[in-house]
Symmetry: D2
Subunit: 200 residues, 4 copies
């Protein structure tokens, strides 16, 4: 059994509906047949303090989220698109993961090495490629591995305002991309669990 | 007389020292001879709620910052570099400015048209060009004009950890770039105040 | 009278039809009522050598394009979207403009200061915000000024393959954005021609 | 035995010295102890036609480079930084790889799935994080997998002009990052060769 953690970096606190929840759920559902068990955390519901330490003290709720990341083999990083960029909540998560950049396990491996990250991006319009780029780089830097075709996204035509959650049905391209992503992510997580990166 | 507002988007609340304060101050000092009066606001000291409305209600302190932006002709957007990106605080500011994207004045002009934006980026290392890119695009989209060579930045050599505020002196290249930026920003703000963009 | 030069950075040599030509033409048409006369150059039709000098010698056809840029007050930088990025032809143009980064006129102003740049991006899908970002930054760095809302773009829904030139009609949002862009670009070019940035 | 292909996307044709050659060589040297045999190809020495097909005909020399990519398990994508972006030669390579985006093997897997990509970026100054981002995304989209900490880069302090090849010695941080990258890339390539991604 593998565990996946989906972080939904929407700006909207619960219980507002979120397109990110829908897409994160679809990714988790696609992972389930590969014996992956998952959970969604809506980051904005927690008080994640600004900073770049693993624990910023004083009411900081990041440590609880960090524990869930550490317990999972797969991270499903989910963010909306605002001004063509990932959300401030998503960037806040990356800043907090910056604390792990130089952290190593007992054998000298990056603490996040061996974990797999995939990215899901939602937007009314344009921005997903750039967000996938920025998140792959940041998640790769801190130690995650990125599977072949590990990104999925949906956005509408230029300057449109439709939400993913309001589409009459899931577009076929999104559904098939999600399937590929899940198949690749589960495989990569399994082989890296069974054959970890060697220590230096 | 023109007014400049410098937003320092550091992750560190006051009274911690901030390289952003130093560079924002240097930009304001360079603007002063052109009859520009300025102020620095450290955004993280305020409770800027997540969202994309001008007022998110319930303790939201963005409206006070927004008033200052509206009262100034020049915005000095200052951000640190984290994971190669602008800070989560900087992206939060852009998300809140998203509310102005379609807002127009009585004559149909974008409400922010006529204002000038410049960008100052600090980092231990690499990221400034990408951050200047992302901020120019977002600030331009909501209506700011960008002067010729309107960005200034400092970062150290790859994978280094020095802070701008700890340099023995201001690098000559940063100082001369700041002079050019200020000369251009003040000129552009003045001509656009005296000859506003025409209404549709 | 002002002059605009539209560089179409499509990968397809003439006489292939190009969505970039269509959008560049629409921008030039929108500029015409403001007494702006324009021309489109399809860069891929010329042998623009790799390098970062104003003249790379030996059959290099960049100098002819450079002359046209220098003779115009407005640059309409037009690029398709490939892999979410500007085209290799567009990046080649920016590399050649890099030669102007430190060039100054007799009075010490950047040689490109006073010129205005706008950006038009075409794509089957996602990428325009990031391309507008990267081009604003590069064009601003070398000396162009960017007017309020100086970008226009079209792309289809995520993972779709329609070309702009094959749409049954120009989307209303694209048409109105083009109008705003042209109104702002012409105004900014005129005021900067009449009141140039001051010399240092 | 595994094979690595390093593509050096410098703008300078042979026999000019290239910092990219130096860093690509260092990556190949770091891979060698893991039983990886490598080769460097300087792309600008070949006539790679603009376009997004696997073979653009008429003197196009991409097919020869493509064959080498297909024969290798590891791609070392090496690019200089110009205007904060990857080179036009690097983007040209990505455009040509776009042809593989939907290509699948006999069992329905992406043709590039199972191959591993790492990225090496050189620059006088700032840009590497953004280039690593853009290349990870594009290479991941077409099917490569990205190992944990699969990027290495060097650039000097902001607005400086030193070349990597002219440094008195290889910075320790670059050397240790190269070691990690090679250890991870070789491991990932081996496990994915031995246990390929499953077919749909």
């Amino acid at each position: 059994m593998l565990r996946a953690l989906a972080l939904n970096c929407t700006l909207k606190p619960s219980p507002a509906e979120s397109s990110g929840d829908l897409m994160a759920r679809q990714v988790l559902d696609a992972l389930a047949p590969y014996d992956v068990e998952g959970e969604i955390v809506r980051v904005v519901d927690f008080d994640v303090k600004p900073g770049v330490e693993a624990d910023m003290g004083d009411g900081d709720e990041w440590p609880g989220i960090r524990d869930k990341i550490m317990a999972a083999e797969i991270l499903v990083f989910t963010t909306p698109t605002w001004m063509g960029h990932m959300s401030s909540v998503a960037q806040r998560v990356l800043e907090r993961l910056d604390a792990e950049l130089s952290a190593t396990d007992d054998e000298g491996r990056p603490v996040l090495a061996g974990k797999v990250a995939v990215v899901a991006v939602l937007g009314n319009e344009d921005g997903a490629h750039a967000i996938i780029a920025d998140t792959y780089q940041a998640l790769g830097d801190v130690g995650f591995s990125i599977p072949s075709q590990g990104g999925v996204y949906w956005n509408g035509e230029a300057m449109h305002t439709t939400d993913y959650k309001d589409l009459p049905e899931t577009p076929e391209k999104v559904a098939s991309t999600t399937q590929t992503l899940a198949r690749h992510a589960a495989h990569l997580a399994k082989v890296l669990r069974d054959q970890p990166y060697p220590a230096p």
